[in-house]
């Protein structure tokens, strides 16, 4: 490189002014969330005042359950707080969940949000087609982005829109038979509270040969006679769903 061009680069570097790391703060940003002074149960204490709590996803009221606290205490004493690898209890928990749902096996992630966000890129590679409800939560959206596959949205909880989308994909693409095709839906949508019509989704999935990934975060332990989620609610055999994910921070209170 010549002296001149080196000098030029020096000048360019000197001239460059970066934006500030974050945009200026507005009043809205500065607002602070409420601070709880007790457990986040049905009643909780904020600023020394007892209030009724409608914000917590403590669906089964397991927060503060005597027996749970006891077993948690003994686990803390035996295993410590943090984990540094798989324990026998983790594996036991995985097989219990699988047994509860009626699936062959299950896997635990340490954080609800990261479950979809890791599971989606694990299954999908470049070139796959994913059909998604436009109302899915952030964890799924980010997982979709990271999977680098072709993503098609359909109207929120609208089965006609889903059908026309699936039909279009199967007809338009001659290679569609060879592509891996997925549908991603939530059982109870975190953002709208609507329940997905699973029976209809299963019918469409079987008609067009798509795999279904179902996020049961807000329905696991809540819907169905024995709390087994949306499949039980609709009386759909669990084998029809390819992958079920759920966050345990809600109904299970962990």
């Amino acid at each position: 490189m010549t002296m001149e061009s080196l000098k030029e680069i020096d000048e360019l570097c000197d001239e460059w002014v970066p934006e500030s790391l974050i945009p200026p703060l507005t009043e809205e940003i500065r607002c602070e969330p409420p601070v709880l002074e007790s457990a986040s149960g049905p009643q909780t204490v904020i600023n020394g005042k007892e209030v009724v709590n409608f914000a917590s996803a403590n669906y089964l009221g397991l927060i503060g359950h005597e027996k749970l606290l006891e077993s948690c205490t003994s686990a803390l004493e035996k295993y410590g707080v943090g984990s540094c690898g798989p324990r026998d209890v983790h594996l036991d928990c995985e097989s219990r969940i699988a047994k509860f749902l009626g699936t062959p096996d299950s896997i635990l992630y340490s954080y609800g949000l990261s479950t979809m966000f890791s599971a989606i890129p694990a299954f999908r590679k470049e070139g796959d087609v994913i059909v998604v409800d436009e109302g899915v939560h952030w964890g799924i959206q980010n997982g979709l982005y990271l999977s680098r596959s072709t993503i098609v949205y359909f109207k929120h909880n609208d089965m006609e829109s889903l059908q026309s989308t699936l039909e279009k994909i199967t007809l338009d693409n001659k290679r569609a038979k060879k592509l891996r095709r997925y549908i991603v839906v939530e059982a109870v949508y975190q953002n709208s509270g609507q329940v997905a019509p699973l029976d209809e989704i299963i019918r469409l999935k079987e008609k067009y040969h798509f795999c279904v990934l179902l996020d049961e975060s807000n329905s696991f332990g809540v819907l169905g006679r024995s709390g087994r989620g949306l499949t039980e609610y609709y009386g759909v055999p669990v084998e029809k769903i390819d992958v079920i994910t759920a966050a345990m921070g809600y109904a299970l209170a962990t």
């Binding site: 970066p18 948690c72 982005y145």
Partner: protein, 487 residues
């Protein structure tokens, strides 16, 4: 850089070639068998096509028993490894009720907080009883308790920054915060050996990503100059901002970051710095404050400091520390803060009390002793391994020390032989490392006693001879002694 010996490279390539060839032959037979059976896909495309899962099927499964070993106790200096057996050539592993008491050289339990602690555990249990295991809500919707605020204050004070935000998982801390900080029109310059969470966060951000040679400040400067001069691709508009991401201790290399030099380069070119202290916070530095303290860097010069609580603090979750404005902005925008359940209260209390112990605020000198111990233990173990002729990576003071294995057959051999002699080690292979550079990774803890370390060294030395991984000549210890006697 790791310079792999010529002969070793040749044998390693040969081994992988052989494994590949056998895998292909087995695949061929599998295909013939499948073809004769009815196709049961019913119009669905197969989940894995062709060679996509070849590595898992034909290489990883053969040595699956060396990974993901379950344990049935806290990961202290010694722990109980559950024995497993397989009836189908390692395809599935079944657990037995038998346990094997082993020396733990694999956990990131740097300060020994992973097991029950006289100060932390009672407090964590108290928090569990008062606040329950979970808040069942995100931080903004009533998932913030008094504990969460106390934790953020104490973390900020500990790392030396005005404010901090705490998230429930370490991995998510990186992968959810980076897309908030930078986006399209920005440039991320990342160390080539950064952790996968950073890679995923950077990809998710939509910013342009460039990589600089691992831990090489001069190459970082070169990349910075080139890209500032050229601007954004195609449009050549100037970059909105540039973020340089490095780690404090690289977990697969055991190396310390050349932070002072990197900070100097970033300052010169007005780039922002993001330091991931997952392995260094609590583990290095005189008072456990991480690489900044160890290398004498002012924390004010690092714009964003990130770290996790899973390692030194024996808990879970991660933090970001920075200016008050930065943290306020993150609390308003970060999806993991807005949507994910907040960190479990007993886990939060565990971190608060661990920090108190480290700083001596519990009224004892246990924290200082732990820090002195891990430094002594690490340096002793590293120098002994080097004397024996192992190829050990990393820097002094770092509690992570990888031993190079190279050949694929040596991975299970080393791991199984050590386990037979009651020493549990972690072996790392592709995809966590480059294919040729398989290694065993030793993590030293403050809870190891001198006797533990000597026992570990004896076993590793014996197994090292057996497996043939002492790539350097050992120091001629005995001869020296003889010379002294002769004198």
């Amino acid at each position: 850089m790791i310079a792999i010996p010529y002969l070793t490279a040749l044998t390693t390539y040969f081994s992988y070639g052989l494994l590949f060839a056998f895998g292909q032959i087995r695949d061929l037979f599998r295909k013939i068998i499948d073809w004769s059976r009815a196709n049961n896909l019913q119009g669905y495309a197969p989940i894995c096509l062709g060679l996509e899962d070849f590595y898992t099927r034909r290489l990883y499964l053969r040595i699956q028993d060396c990974f993901g070993r379950p344990i049935s106790s806290a990961p202290d200096a010694w722990f109980d490894v559950v024995e497993r057996y397989s009836n189908d050539n390692n395809k599935t592993l079944k657990r037995t009720t038998k346990i094997n008491r082993c020396l733990n050289l694999g956990s990131y339990n740097y300060l020994g907080f992973a097991a029950a602690d006289e100060y932390c555990t009672p407090r964590a249990i108290e928090a569990l009883k008062k606040y329950s295991p979970s808040t069942c809500s995100s931080r903004v919707d009533g998932g913030t308790t008094v504990l969460h605020n106390e934790l953020e204050k104490s973390v900020a004070k500990f790392v030396g920054k005005p404010a901090a935000i705490v998230l429930g998982m370490g991995y998510v801390t990186n992968s959810a915060i980076l897309p908030v900080l930078i986006g399209k029109g920005g440039l991320i310059i990342s160390d080539s050996l950064n952790h996968n969470s950073i890679v995923n966060g950077a990809r998710g951000s939509g910013a342009t990503i460039r990589v600089f040679q691992h831990n090489t400040p001069s190459h970082l400067e070169e990349v910075l100059r080139e890209h500032i001069a050229e601007g954004q691709p195609r449009t050549h508009r100037p970059w909105k901002k540039i973020l340089v991401i490095v780690e404090g201790i690289y977990s697969m290399e055991g190396e310390l970051c050349k932070l002072p030099e990197i900070i100097a380069v970033c300052k010169k070119y007005k780039a922002y710095t993001y330091l991931d202290e997952a392995h260094s916070i609590g583990a290095v530095g005189k008072t456990g404050r991480g690489v900044c303290e160890l290398l004498g860097v002012d924390t004010a010069d690092v714009d964003i400091m990130m770290g996790t609580f899973t390692k030194s603090f024996g808990s879970c979750g991660g933090y970001i520390a920075g200016s008050k404005e930065l943290i306020q902005y993150l609390k308003y925008t970060c999806p993991a803060h807005l949507y994910a359940t907040s960190i479990s209260p007993p886990a939060a209390e565990q971190i608060i009390s661990a920090i108190k112990v480290i700083l001596g605020e519990d009224g004892s000198s246990r924290g200082a002793q732990k820090l002195a111990q891990i430094r002594k233990n690490s340096n002793f173990f590293r120098s002994e391994l080097q004397k024996m002729g192992f190829e050990v990576l990393g820097d002094n003071d770092s509690p992570v020390m990888p031993i190079m294995l190279y050949n694929p057959a040596k991975i299970p051999a080393f791991s199984r032989e050590c386990l037979k002699q009651n020493v549990a080690v972690v072996t790392v292979a592709f995809p966590a490392t480059p294919l040729l550079l398989a290694r065993a990774r030793i993590c030293i803890s403050a809870s190891h006693t001198k006797e533990d370390l000597i026992k570990g060294l004896e076993v590793i030395s014996r197994v090292g001879d057996l497996v043939g991984i002492k790539y350097f000549p050992a120091e001629p210890k005995k001869q020296e002694e003889r010379m002294v006697k002769l004198d």
